[in-house]
Amino acid sequence: MNNIEFISAGAGSGKTYKLTVILADALESGAARPHAILATTFTVRAATELRERARSWLLGKGRIDLATAVGQARLGTVNSVCGQMLKRFCFQLGLSPDQTVLSEGQTKRLLASSLSETLDGPGQVELVQLTTRFGIEQSEWSKFIESVVKAARDNDIDPSDLRAMGLRNADLMLANWPAPSAGLDLTVTLADVLSQALAAVSNYIQEAVAKGTAVAKNLQSGQQDLQRLERAFREGHWTWPDWIAAYGVDAGAKVKDHLLPVKEAAQGHEAHPTFHAEVRRYLDLIFNLAADALDTYAQAKLALGAVDFSDQEVLLLRAVRESPEVREALAGELDLILVDEFQDTSPLQLALFVELAKLAKRSVWVGDPKQAIYGFRGTDARLIAGVLGAIKTWGGTLGGPLTTSRRSTPGLVSLTNAVFESAFHPDLAPDEVRLQREVT
């Protein structure tokens, strides 16, 4: 691993200033050629600010040539920088040279469409039957599968590994339920007791009407629920939520005893062999579908000449790892890599930065482990802590941390120290958390 330095920079401790100085110094000293600088930031605005500040710094030093040359450096968000490189290496990756980057909405639509196309007619029928059985709304059928696909892509999980996860998930889930029962057909049992309960409740109501007694609202409502469920089971188009509903039918205290057999039979769904089999089949189907969809979706994008945000990282990582031509090209043009907001790095991005660091002359990663808050994007405070622990073993260094808050008042700094020193324990030691107050 080449020269990696990690700089811990607390909130308001002058991180952008530090990055500017590193970039400008590297240019001034000749250690980095302008076009051989790659800097990633979390937002477009931050990239713009870094470019502006570097230019201004160099103008202040009278280096108009370098201030102009900053325009050659690759500064941008991780996705924009990766996107540029994906175009650059389109032939090595077998992609269209004219790539369209899909927005999140377009990604979602194309993935949903690919999922549907992945299944043949009988497969679609089975999926509809299973989703109907589990009470999953028509508009929701693809959501869970999409999240499986997304997780697989964001974590670079191989389709064959993904396939195995469906049944493993089912095993883990069903282990918490009673074992499937043998013997009686639980569905027939529930259908029978529903018929009996409906007959009993209807009789009770008829008698009440005959006596001229008012029929309570909950009794009527309970009867209607029983009618609906009885019909569903009689006609054979019941769903698993119907079992839950049967357990919960309430027709009032006066007919409570008639409903006890229904409750008892409905609770049997936990040990229903069909329930176990359908959970297993559903999870197996959707994980297999997700695995197939990885390919169908990739083909759909290829046919459209499109890439999505995940591709920008996944495909580039693959190219950097596997293509000698890409490695050779990058090795000649990476003098300095700067990574801002390193704590927001996802596992995939971390893998990419590690691979690039092997090719670059110098890498500087700047971040604040305390601000690893974008869990929804795949980042994790433990990931950063792990990197900090490993960096020296890679031959890297931990640079002097920026610990003086230049943004907040001393009182606020003391307060946050008091709160967060304990909050981060034991992942981070107190001195890794504590900010110093600026001496004025």
């Binding site: 302008p34 076009h35 713009t48 502006e52 230019r55 201004s56 103008l59 202040g60 009278g62 108009i64 040539d65 201030a67 102009t68 040359a69 325009g71 050659q72 690759r74 540029q84 650059r88 389109c90 032939f91 090595q92 990756l93 077998g94 992609l95 269209s96 040279p97 004219d98 639509r109 949903a112 469409s113 690919s114 999922l115 549907s116 196309e117 299944l119 007619g121 679609q124 029928v125 999926l127 509809v128 039957q129 109907t132 028509q138 059928w141 693809s142 009527q220 209607q224 009618q227 609906r228 569903a232 006609e235 188009h237 046919a303 459209l304 000449g305 050779e328 090209a329 000649g332 043009e333």
Partner: protein, 874 residues
């Protein structure tokens, strides 16, 4: 002839003070055309698309599946050909002879291999044209050119251009010259010195003579209004440089009484340029209904626009081609003058064969379509100038696509995939079309879209909101490839040198100013342009002396920029709209829907049914429950059109449905046939099939004799004319009847409507049937399609149905009585000129008098109308 030549000068817009017949100011394309004309080398221009198509042929000739481009070629043949052709052209213009030694990197060698055939036949690009010019000049062919003045240094010119310029007489380089006076001049010289020498001098003293001005504003609109007012108040020879957003500036100038500068804003998405893409999109199977609606509603298309609009409405009503609504439009069209020809056109464009996206469309089909569209545009070129300016780029685009397709056909390509069609169109539309309304007007300021072309001095130069500059692209090749090409004598462009040249170009607007240079800064948040940073380094005082337009909004600095507005709250929503005179209720037949609106929200009824206000809607076909319900209704209608259907077994019903569902979806539910809709389609088919078999089961059990669908009844409610359509009018063996309404879903809701006595819709159907036949239905009810539940109001009619008997006091007769009372109550209010405004979820005080129906208020889906009634919170 004395030529002024610069790399970017083709991008000039409007007249130049220097340009004249004998002293042209030209860029690369301009000078090349000029030379070819005088040397007798002019030839019909070959479109970019045709060259790309030709190059694709050469790529495919050498492709053995192991070339560096093989995989990309498979993924995107035309995009790959376009990219590699651009490499090839760029190398040629740098002096490449098309060869490569064995030691050269792989990609260079493989392009050289392609070049062995491309060099012979490929239509000329810029490099070949320059080479032909150079050959002609060397042979002594005369030109009228006596001198050439370069505005860019020769080293910045590509190798092939330098060869030509070396053969022209009296080539000189124009020095960068400051044109200003006073403190402006001092700043111009300091900036020029900084860029030329790469070093900074001492900071300049404050600019106090007003010759350099920074202008800031929080919004672009404020600045636009300011410039308009400034220009009107201070007429001058003024040049506006706007690299972006010039069209917005023009719009404000025109709106405030000024004259257009003429910012052209070329864009490949102009409506006329989208027509060919939409026309070819209709070739794919399954048909994309959204694209079909786009084609039918697009401002430009090959078909009569009125006919397209009517077909669009038909498609939105019944998504598909060939349904009842579609056929009705065609029938009307056929009855018009020239209708037969128009019907032929409709059938050609919309009802022809389609091909799966994975197989591709035959080239002959594409050629036929593009040729017809090209002909449509050609016929429109003879109209007014504004029309011609719209259709000319579209005609050129179609011609380029046609040429590209012809070339591919010549190569024996049988079919094109969607991506190939898309890329061919993209390569036929390289620079887009300009805004046809953008012509510069008399009295307008001079204008420029590029700093680089500001070579004419002006009294005042206004640089409009420079922000993130477009920077030179990095080279596509590795260091080893660049070195290998250099060894072969190829002089590739150098991004570092281009960036330096760009810095010089950024100076041109400043240097062109004679009396005043105004830098209008973009709103906060935009990137600081490098020139702005340089000027502030040289003259830091400029920032503190900037003109802040937002501070001046209330001042009289340049007239009134904005009127301060006093805050006015929304008025309270009135309980009633009080009219000056009585308003009678309409005497036209009322439906259940209209009565519900009147009863629950008279003001909504007044807006929709009396004032007839309709919200604007974008035509679009959506897959929603309404569509699924409509399709299922239609399926039932078709089912019971078979006299023997009632006797069918479930198996026979299933077989009938499976045989007929395809056509139903094709004509009225094509959204469910679209790519990616497979699961939705299966769900619909399964639901509908089960609904049909369940319903027939109910009918068999009841011994139903006859079922009529969508039966229209007319009658009265008291003295109110009434109309309604009963979904399923059923006759039993014993002569009794049942009226059913079908719903897609919501079994619980409709069960509770009956159970709670809120079944006005069914009560109205009951009275309508009664009045028409002299016999009240024995029961009324709902059939819920997604669960197959049949909910009816009375026992002993349909034995397998679920009875939901309305409560005491809510019989059909009583519900109808309450409806009449509610009508009378609302009519009384209207007679007093009072139209009640009922909120959503109304509180108890909105209840009517005893004996009337409960007031439920309007529904949120009427929000377009409710906003007019003070429902802005909703």
């Amino acid at each position: 002839m004395h030529v002024t030549f610069g790399l970017s000068l083709d991008a000039r817009q409007g007249a130049s003070q220097q340009n004249s017949f004998n002293a042209p100011v030209v860029g690369r394309l301009g000078l090349l055309s000029l030379l070819e004309t005088y040397l007798g080398l002019s030839a019909p221009e070959t479109s970019a698309a045709q060259r790309v198509a030709s190059y694709l042929g050469y790529l495919q000739q050498v492709d053995d599946c192991n070339r560096f481009f093989s995989k990309s070629l498979k993924a995107d043949s035309i995009g790959t050909a376009a990219k590699l052709l651009s490499w090839r052209d760029e190398w040629h213009i740098g002096g490449w002879n098309g060869a490569a030694p064995e030691t050269a990197p792989r990609r260079v060698r493989e392009l050289a291999l392609i070049e062995q055939s491309a060099a012979r036949d490929l239509a000329s690009g810029e490099a070949e044209r320059l080479a032909a010019v150079a050959t002609a000049l060397k042979s002594g062919s005369p030109t009228p050119i006596r001198s050439v003045e370069l505005v860019d240094p020769p080293a910045a010119l590509p190798w092939a251009w330098r060869q030509v310029l070396n053969l022209l007489p009296n080539v000189s380089v124009q020095a960068l010259t400051p044109h200003g006076k006073g403190q402006l001049r001092v700043l111009q010289e300091a900036a020029l010195n900084a860029i030329s020498t790469g070093g900074m001098g001492a900071k300049l003293p404050p600019t106090t003579d007003g010759s350099v001005q920074l202008v800031t504003a929080l919004s672009r609109q404020t600045a636009e209004h300011w410039l308009s007012a400034h220009n009107a108040a201070n007429p001058a020879d003024r040049l506006v440089v706007a690299e972006e957003l010039g069209d917005s500036l023009d719009a404000i100038l025109a709106a405030t009484g000024g004259a257009n500068c003429g910012f052209e804003s070329p864009n490949p998405l102009r409506p006329a340029l989208q027509a060919v893409g939409l026309a070819l999109e209709l070739c794919w199977e399954p048909l994309d209904i959204a694209r079909l609606v786009d084609f039918l509603t697009h401002p430009v298309g090959p078909l009569n626009r009125t006919a397209r609009a009517r077909l669009a409405e038909a498609v939105v009503e019944q998504p598909g081609v060939g349904g009842d609504a579609w056929r009705a439009v065609k029938k009307d069209v056929a009855a018009q003058d020239g209708g037969a020809a128009l019907v032929d056109e409709i059938e050609f464009w919309l009802e022809g064969n389609r091909w799966p996206r994975t197989d591709g469309v035959p080239l002959e089909v594409l050629l036929n379509r593009v040729d017809r569209l090209r002909d449509v545009f050609r016929r429109r070129l003879s109209g007014e100038a504004a029309q011609t300016s719209v259709f000319l780029p579209a005609h050129q685009q179609c011609s380029a696509v046609f040429d590209g397709l012809t070339e591919l056909l010549r190569q024996g390509v049988p079919k094109l995939l969607p991506r190939e069609v898309e890329q061919l169109i993209a390569n036929s539309t390289p620079s887009g079309a300009v805004n046809p309304a953008s012509a510069a007007q008399v009295g307008g300021m001079r204008s420029s879209r590029r700093a680089a072309v500001c070579i004419d001095a002006a009294d005042e130069v206004v640089w409009w909101m420079p922000a993130s500059p477009a920077l030179p692209a990095a080279l596509d090749w590795s260091d080893s490839e660049v070195q290998a090409l250099a060894t072969m004598g190829v002089e590739l462009r150098d991004p570092a040198k281009e960036l330096k040249l760009l810095a010089v170009h950024w100076l041109r607007p400043l240097l062109a100013a004679r009396q005043r240079f105004t830098l209008v800064l973009p709103p906060p948040g935009a990137e600081e342009h490098p020139l702005r940073q340089l000027l502030l380094r040289l003259a830091p005082d400029l920032e503190s002396r900037a003109l802040n337009l937002d501070d001046g909004v209330n001042g009289a600095f340049h007239g009134t920029l904005a009127e301060p507005l006093t805050h006015v709250s929304f008025p309270d929503v009135p309980r009633n709209i009080q009219l000056p005179s009585p308003l009678p209720l309409p005497t036209s037949p009322q439906s259940f829907t209209s009565l519900t609106e009147l009863f629950n929200s008279p003001a909504l009824y007044a807006l929709k049914r009396v004032a007839r206000l309709r919200p604007t809607a974008v035509l679009s076909a959506e897959e929603d429950n309404r569509l699924l319900g409509t399709l299922a209704h239609k399926a039932l209608e078709l089912l019971f059109a078979n006299a023997e259907a009632l006797g069918w077994s479930s198996e026979q019903a299933r077989a009938w449905f499976r045989a007929n569902a395809g056509k139903l979806l094709q004509t009225e539910g094509a959204l469910l046939l679209m790519q990616g809709a497979g699961v939705s389609q299966q769900r619909f088919l399964m639901t509908c099939e089960r609904a049909i078999t369940t319903l027939l089961g109910h009918f068999r059990a009841a011994g139903v004799k006859q079922v009529r669908t969508e039966v229209e009844f007319n009658g009265v409610l008291g003295n109110i004319p009434l109309t309604g359509k009963v979904d399923l009018a059923i006759e039993l063996q014993d002569g009794r009847t049942v009226a059913l309404d079908t719903k897609w879903r919501d079994e619980r809701r409709y069960a509770s409507l009956l159970h709670e006595g809120r079944h006005l819709q069914l009560a109205l159907y009951s009275t309508l049937v009664d009045q028409a036949t002299g016999q009240s239905p024995a029961a009324v009810g709902y059939f819920i399609l997604d669960t197959g539940a049949l909910l009816i109001s009375a026992p002993d009619v349909l034995p397998t149905a679920q009875v939901r008997r309305p409560p005491d006091g809510s019989s059909i007769v009583e519900v109808l009585q309450r409806a009449r009372a509610t009508w009378d109550w609302r009519a009384g209010q209207w007679a007093a000129g009072q139209i009640e405004v009922v909120p959503v979820d109304p509180p108890p005080e909105y209840r009517g008098p005893d004996g009337t129906l409960a007031v439920e208020g309007p529904k949120r889906w009427d929000s377009d109308h409710l906003v007019l009634l003070g429902g802005w919170e909703q």
